[in-house]
């Protein structure tokens, strides 16, 4: 009983939370533009920050798009580096504004290599204002470190319950700066290390002007003035350029449709488990009634009415199902908690564990009904007990 309830409740919870997370993060973004590849991947990487980016697009093309009269606003994103497993996203203040982020302490970045970090990052990595660190290439903790340039924490955000909590935001220029050196270093590896080191010390204190047009970003989040016209624009971009557009709503629906099959299968399994557990309650009550037939006959001989004993047994079935339900709910919360710890480690996604869903209320009623039915049928046997025979036989 408890197991079936736990599985169903876990599915409900996880489904709900994932959906909530996904829709909250997607709000306000009509289109994502990025390099050619899987549109789902582009969405997952740019909006949810869970998949790898598809590739880079040139800033020039992105800017051309931004200037289009159909576009209300755009947010450029540049990913590729991380620190201790947390993604560093190059963007601008608009990205923070998009999530209505507020600062717990500190302020927004104003210079290259300054960085603002999400609440979860700050908590888990124990970073404070003015801390410095160097990023790693890629999203693994083992990624090659960019030792030359160090980020400096200037702001810590309040919890927004969005992906922002698990991100570190820095100006686009920082990402470019880090990678420029990275490339130079690779090119001149072994050739003139000394010179490079000298260069570094000079460079570190001055922000070089960045020629935007030659720069690259990972993707562009776009908000249209008019969604219908926007769709047409998206089609023309897909056909006529090296860029790719993806609509979050469509891709996410596709993802849910894919996941839905698995979730449905699990739901059926859980339902079967509940029915089987109902049957086992039935069998155990039936057996216990047989064992306790004498007890029942005894109580009958002492003046108990059969209806009273019937209700007594029914209550027993009810209590079993209520206990089963409570344990099930508890188990599902425990499962979700463990899952969320796991997911948070791997994807920096977390779940809100404690809320009780309305669906679970129906689940409760269903469990009670099954418990009642399972108890009622064998308990009807009470009305057939032959007191004298039962008492004489034993």
């Amino acid at each position: 009983m408890a197991l079936g309830i736990a599985i169903i409740s876990l599915l409900l919870l996880a489904g709900k939370q994932i959906e909530e997370k996904f829709t909250r993060n997607v709000a306000g973004i009509d289109m994502v533009v990025g390099a050619k590849g899987s549109p789902l991947q582009l969405i997952l990487a740019s909006i949810y920050q869970i998949d790898s980016p598809t590739g880079n697009i040139s800033m020039e093309e992105a800017n051309r798009l931004t200037r289009s009269p159909l576009v209300k606003s755009t947010i450029p994103l540049s990913m590729g580096d991380s620190y201790q497993g947390y993604r560093i996203v190059g963007s601008n203040e608009k990205y923070l504004a998009h999530f209505q982020a507020e600062f717990a302490t500190g302020k927004v970045f104003s210079k290259t290599m300054e960085i603002v970090i999400g609440s979860k990052v700050a908590k888990n990595l124990n970073l404070k204002i003015d801390d410095v660190f160097s990023s790693q290439h890629g999203f693994d903790k083992e990624g090659q470190a960019h030792k030359e340039k160090q980020f400096k924490v200037v702001g810590i955000l309040k919890t927004t319950n969005s992906v922002l909590d698990q991100l570190m935001i820095t100006p686009l220029e920082s990402v470019w700066a880090v990678h420029e050196e990275h490339h130079e270093e690779e090119a001149g590896k072994g050739a003139n290390v000394l010179k490079l080191l000298e260069d570094d010390s000079v460079r570190a204190n001055s922000i070089r002007p960045v020629q935007e047009d030659s720069k690259e970003i990972t993707s562009l989040l776009v908000k249209f003035r008019n969604p219908v016209m926007g769709m047409m624009m998206a089609r023309s971009i897909n056909q006529n350029s090296t860029l790719q557009t993806a609509t979050p709503a469509i891709e996410i629906n596709r993802l849910f449709a894919l996941l839905g099959v698995g979730v449905d299968a699990l739901k059926w399994i859980a339902l079967v488990i509940i029915i089987v557990s109902g049957l086992s309650v039935f069998v155990s009550l039936y057996n216990s009634l047989k064992e306790r037939k004498y007890e029942m006959a005894l109580m009958l001989s002492m003046g108990a009415s059969r209806t009273k004993l019937f209700l007594l047994l029914l209550l027993e079935g009810l209590i079993i199902s209520v206990i089963g339900f409570v344990i099930g709910i508890f188990l599902s919360r425990l499962g979700l908690w463990i899952m969320s710890k796991n997911v948070e480690q791997n994807f920096h996604y977390d779940f809100n564990v404690l809320s009780l869903l309305t669906e679970e209320f129906y689940l409760f009623l269903g469990a009670l009904l099954i418990g009642l039915l399972a108890a009622a049928i064998p308990s009807l046997g009470i009305y057939n007990i032959n007191i004298s025979k039962t008492l004489a036989d034993e």
Partner: protein, 208 residues
């Protein structure tokens, strides 16, 4: 007081029992002796209204009870008849004291905790009141079931082979206790048994 006249019962037309007449006043005891298969338990169940007789009359406290309906019978039995079974049986999930109080509860009376205490003391199991019944020895369990039969201060106590599973010592102890208790509450005691050891201690005897 309890009395029967021309009591008959038939499980099937071939398996018929005719029971002898007897009467037993308050504070009196009567022993009904018989070998297995003579209908001892049937006789007792008839007196306890657990079975409905096919013919004849039974009176308890001068009230004719053979024609009571099932629910009336259950009510009457709970208030006026205490039954001690051959093997002591209890509701296993309840403690000793709760098993005693259950008799009050099921008869619709107030739960007489003090009476339970007193009975436990005079029957010598007061230190076991909070234990589960299964933790007690056979002799102790039999004494608890006597106490349970007395909980509602019935006017008749029916005992079905109360001593068959007890050794000589315990057997006599139990009978003494029973006799003493019915003197105190003024009830009649009917013992049905094949236990020949009891022959000497009962003056009034019937053989089936």
């Amino acid at each position: 007081m309890i009395a029967t006249q021309n009591l008959t019962f038939a499980y099937t037309p071939e398996k018929r029992f005719d029971f002898p007449n007897f009467s037993c006043a308050d504070r009196e005891t009567i022993l009904i002796l018989g070998k297995s298969g003579k209908g001892k338990t049937t006789f007792l169940h008839l007196m306890a209204l657990l079975l409905k007789p096919t013919g004849g009359n039974i009176q308890i406290n001068n009230q004719e009870i053979s024609q009571l309906s099932v629910s009336q019978a259950a009510n009457f039995r709970a208030k006026n008849v205490g039954i001690i079974y051959q093997k002591p049986h209890f509701v296993h999930s309840l403690s000793v004291i709760d098993n005693l109080l259950l008799a009050n509860y099921l008869a619709g009376k107030n739960q007489a905790k003090q009476l339970a205490q007193q009975l436990a003391e005079s029957l010598g199991f007061s230190e076991h009141l909070l234990k589960k019944t299964t933790q007690l020895s056979q002799g102790e369990q039999q004494r608890v079931s006597i106490a349970r039969a007395l909980m509602n201060k019935p006017s008749v106590i029916l005992a079905d082979e109360p001593t068959s599973s007890l050794d000589d010592d315990n057997c006599m102890k139990v009978i003494d206790l029973l006799k003493k208790q019915i003197q105190e509450i003024g009830a009649s005691l009917v013992v049905v048994t094949h236990d020949q050891r009891l022959k000497e201690v009962f003056e009034k005897r019937i053989e089936l």
